[in-house]
Symmetry: C2
Subunit: 225 residues, 2 copies
DNA sequence: GTCTGTTTGAAACATACGTTTGAAGCGCAT
DNA sequence: ATGCGCTTCAAACGTATGTTTCAAACAGAC
């Protein structure tokens, strides 16, 4: 082997185990034994467990954010001047995710699950790392969302973006389990691409919902306690 | 004190710490020192850490599921025969959550955050526990959703329910942080009730979206890899 | 007051963790 | 063949965890 694939073996094993079980629940000993490398290799090559977590994210997030920037560039070019629609923006995002070159067939779902965990399993160091490294494509996405929904108040848009993030992160973070359940209950196979294709219209519709906030259905009393 | 409030003090402390930091990241020593009780008290009163987690959930989930059953009863009675609408069903759920008697002002958001964690931080034992204990109100809610969206295929409905759960669990589980951000950025105060009031129309609109799955916007190519 | 069952207390237990150490192994230029 | 980085290895370190132990404290009944 050219020059020791230990680093990649560690990253592969860590990625999969993190996606399966979360960060705190995955020990370095699990990782190194799955990767068939010595326990000390992690600290030798990465420095610490947290640094390994960062490296796992960087390995797919860096190419992804480049892909995403390209997709946004093309989209804005195609729209010359006019702001892209909400659907176009969401599709640009999902296509970038889905079209990423995968290391293996599980690549995309591991990717999604890790992103979900990053949001959910709020490890302070990870949040900070991601914000520092990838703030640019993120705020560009936010700007596109804003231009695509000028009818929304800032507050409404803010909350609906959180709802979108939640639906996405949550679904993707448990997509394997959800796919299995669906397989057992209805005998239907599902790919991550199909999940994304179902998710986008849901998000777009929710994002553009008429605000019925102050008009709960007859018979129920709004609690203002 | 009538008869040792140790149990409640442990539950209070555990609830708050779990909501703040997750289950694995919260040690029994943190709990017992916050609760100002002896370390061994947890194992004495509950038997194990996992059993304590179950007890924390049971303490609010049992009254909640009773409240929810009542709300569904009243709703179905009011609709005599006809299936309740999607909006009515969602409102019944949110109102039951919001109207629950709270131990303190943080009650509802802790409640929500714990529910989010239960789904997200997939501890096998917790999943099993919740499914065994609270399957009945859950499947009743599912039945109502099904009757309220007869136009959806089973598969579509399944995924959209997951999207709803995700948006809800995720938003509520980080509602404190999100409220703070909004407060700092736009100077707007928000209550959990208001978040719920914004969430319901978003969910209802997403749930009833026209299925544009196979019609991505012009210019983008659907990946069927 | 004394006994009895329940609850608390301080200490220890066994285990698992992330990290560090120092020697051994390796490829490669000299 | 020798020496020099870089990498691997087995072993240990210190710390933190969940759990157990057993004596002390307590409450209520007699």
């Amino acid at each position: 082997m050219a020059q020791s694939d230990t680093v990649d073996r560690i990253l592969d094993a860590a990625e999969e185990l993190f996606a399966d079980r979360g960060f705190s629940e995955t020990s370095l000993r699990m990782i190194t034994s799955k990767a068939k490398v010595n326990l000390a290799a992690v600290n030798y090559h990465f420095g610490s467990k947290n640094a390994l977590i960062h490296a796992v994210f960087a390995r797919f997030l860096t190419p992804f954010s480049a892909t995403l920037e390209n997709a946004f560039d093309q989209l804005e070019e195609r729209c010359d001047g006019k702001p892209p629609t909400l659907n176009q923006t969401l599709w640009a995002l999902t296509e970038s995710a889905v079209r990423m070159p995968q290391r293996n067939e599980k690549g995309i779902s591991i990717f999604m699950r890790l992103l979900g965990l990053a949001y959910t399993q709020s490890q302070g160091h990870l949040r900070k790392f991601l914000e520092q490294e990838y703030s640019e494509p993120f705020s560009r996405f936010m700007r596109l969302l804003k231009e695509a929904t000028p009818q929304l108040s800032s507050v409404d848009r803010y909350w609906r973006i959180q709802f979108m993030l939640g639906a996405t992160a949550f679904t993707m973070s448990s997509s394997d389990a959800l796919r299995d359940i669906l397989q057992n209950k209805l005998g239907v196979e599902t790919t991550v691409q199909e999940i994304a294709a179902r998710l986008v219209p849901f998000l777009a519709a929710g994002m553009q919902a008429e605000d019925a906030m102050l008009i709960p259905p007859a018979g129920s009393k709004v609690s203002v306690a």
